[in-house]
Symmetry: C2
Subunit: 375 residues, 2 copies
């Protein structure tokens, strides 16, 4: 046994995977060899799920069957909706509500025991649960899923009760694709560790949601958005605000990533979409703020040092421009990343090995026990 401590498991290779590859130096991300830009522009989220789960891009009949199967199981049992309503009424945070409701879905399976079968059910139902939660918070009844809409379009429909316009649906679909997988990040790794015990996919997904809810993982796009609103409420411009914050030693959220040394390709694509949304709505404020901050930090040399904009820097303003409440950003991230969680667990099962590292014990080994009444 090597006695070197691998803090954070940085650079430790725990598995082989054909699912996604990040070239942090070139700013390139591929899913099974396909460049993320091609997929984001040319493939739907359903195609990406098929690619991740089944190994190749689907031909039209395969895609139709796959999408139909997914759409057919979007509905959620009334008992789950009742718990979702209770959680919304009790003021539960959306990620925690999603974790609980997703965990509860396992009671309403159809006895499937394969990771992909369970995983496709949970992927199909997460948007339903999340939209019902948001509507319950607004005092509204849930909207039944519409099997004729795409995964992205149906979520926006269930959220608002209105079919989305094509630009919103396309943008949201692209955001789902961009977030679907990203190597062994903390939530995917959580799903994998859980899956390695042969636990069911509901356990893996509930664990993944838990990990993603942490401030060091999925919460960053919300933090960026809060920053933009804080700047907007202040009497400073975005550059002045960021300059002052950095002088006070504060870190600017949405910049820097353990893997990327250059601008995250997902950030590039979402910046484009933010531009489209700004043009179609005529409201360019967030675009102006984000590009000004990025350009300022570039001038300051941060980007040259590898502290470049990551996906979270742009995704928040894209969702906000679509009218989505801030505290749903991370749940939407989960609703997309579930595709990657399921894919990784399924792939790992082909050559499964229980994941069980060690801790270096630094405590005493022979403490003398004294019974409580003599202490």
């Amino acid at each position: 046994m090597s006695d070197e401590l691998k803090r954070g498991l940085e650079s430790v290779l725990v598995a082989e995977s054909e699912l996604s590859y990040v070239d942090g130096t070139a700013g390139k991300l591929v899913y099974r060899g396909y460049d993320i830009e091609d997929l984001a522009r040319g493939a739907s989220y359903e195609e990406v799920l098929y690619l991740l789960w089944h190994g190749s891009l689907p031909a039209p009949p395969e895609l139709a069957a796959f999408s139909d199967d997914l759409a057919a199981v979007r509905g959620v049992d009334e008992d789950v909706l009742a718990t979702v309503r209770t959680l919304a009424d009790g003021g539960e945070r959306p990620m925690a509500a999603l974790r609980t409701a997703t965990s509860m879905l396992s009671a309403y399976g159809s006895g499937e025991d394969e990771v992909l079968e369970q995983g496709s059910r949970v992927t199909a139902k997460m948007p339903t649960v999340l939209a019902a939660f948001e509507r319950a918070r607004q005092g509204e009844e849930p909207v039944d899923p519409d099997p004729n809409l795409s995964h992205a379009g149906n979520f926006l429909y269930m959220l608002t009760g209105t079919e989305p316009d094509p630009v919103s649906e396309e943008t949201f679909d692209m955001a789902l694709t961009l977030h679907a997988d990203h190597g062994l990040n903390a939530s995917t790794f959580t799903a994998l560790v859980i899956g390695s015990t042969m636990a069911d996919a509901y356990s893996s997904v509930a664990g993944g949601i838990g990990a993603l809810s942490g401030g060091l993982h999925g919460g960053a796009n919300q933090t960026v958005m809060e920053l933009l609103y804080t700047i907007d409420d202040s009497d400073k411009g975005p550059v002045e605000w960021v300059k002052d914050a950095r002088d006070e030693g504060r870190r600017i959220p949405g910049f820097g990533h353990r893997v990327y040394e250059v601008k995250d390709p997902r950030a590039r694509m979402l910046e484009e979409k933010l531009r489209d949304l700004a043009e179609s709505s005529g409201d360019g404020k967030w675009l102006e703020y984000t590009t000004a901050i990025e350009s300022h930090l570039d001038d300051e040399g941060l980007i040259a040092e590898g502290i470049a904009p990551n996906v979270d820097f742009y995704s928040g303003s894209v969702y906000d421009s679509m009218g989505i409440p801030m505290d749903l950003f991370t749940p939407i991230f989960a609703m997309s990343r579930v595709g990657g969680w399921v894919a990784h667990v399924s792939e790992y099962r082909d050559d499964n090995r229980l994941i069980r590292p060690r801790a270096r014990y630094t405590g005493p080994t022979d403490a003398e026990f004294v019974p409580v009444d003599e202490r």
Copy 2:
């Protein structure tokens, strides 16, 4: 970056810890330096929780305050009990129900944000949730927790509606102590990975329950018990049954452990307790079966090869002798191990680092994208 693949992270040191140490060669387990045998015999589960969470064994006034605080928050919101009832009525498996209900508890916190505060609430409430689930399955109303009983005694009381006899309470308390911590096993590591993102303790515990539900982790004591019942229903004696099964190439559950090369010290203690229970009840069947199987496998040379009885080999028959249903064995394991999950996450937070390993990418890097209508 080393390019060596660390399958299962075997022997990889991911953190330093003062919590527990397993000497697999000597068959020794310590919590913060105290031998597990001393703790199991001389300390209550509450003392062990205090030790794991606060670093030392409590003096009497500290123990009294700690136990009172824990007992004071055993109650569970009626909404959670309603969901538990729904899950029981729907036939949900106990570990899945526990995962969902524990996740749901986060909606009813009191705004605590420290790991130990959240962790002590969830530790206090898990027995309440589990007992309510079991009673609901039996068509019975839940029994309110009794703050005057110990953690172990109160669980047995809530399960049956009757205060347990001293032997049962002591045995159950010992079982909780024996299962409270065991280094970075898969469920504890899951809790740690989730906690490393700064997610709340409910997320870590729900993830831990998910991992523990897997057949390669927490389910083994139930599997052993099923084996004993299978043998009992067959027309073979235990040794003959095991001999035939091994001739057919089947593995006998409850033997062998990734860490122990000799008999697990927890198995030794539980074997003693099984002996006590057999003597007090006059029913020595499981004791006879387990000792006969162990002795046969010893004769066959397995124990000399390091395939020795582990904790699961004896815990099942202990619980069964106490009248506890088989499918509650793993949830009871969770109800104990939560102490270790919380302790590890809390300790890790003192010098937190996001846990994010890598996968070795083995797929293509430049697949050519073809739009769906041209496929």
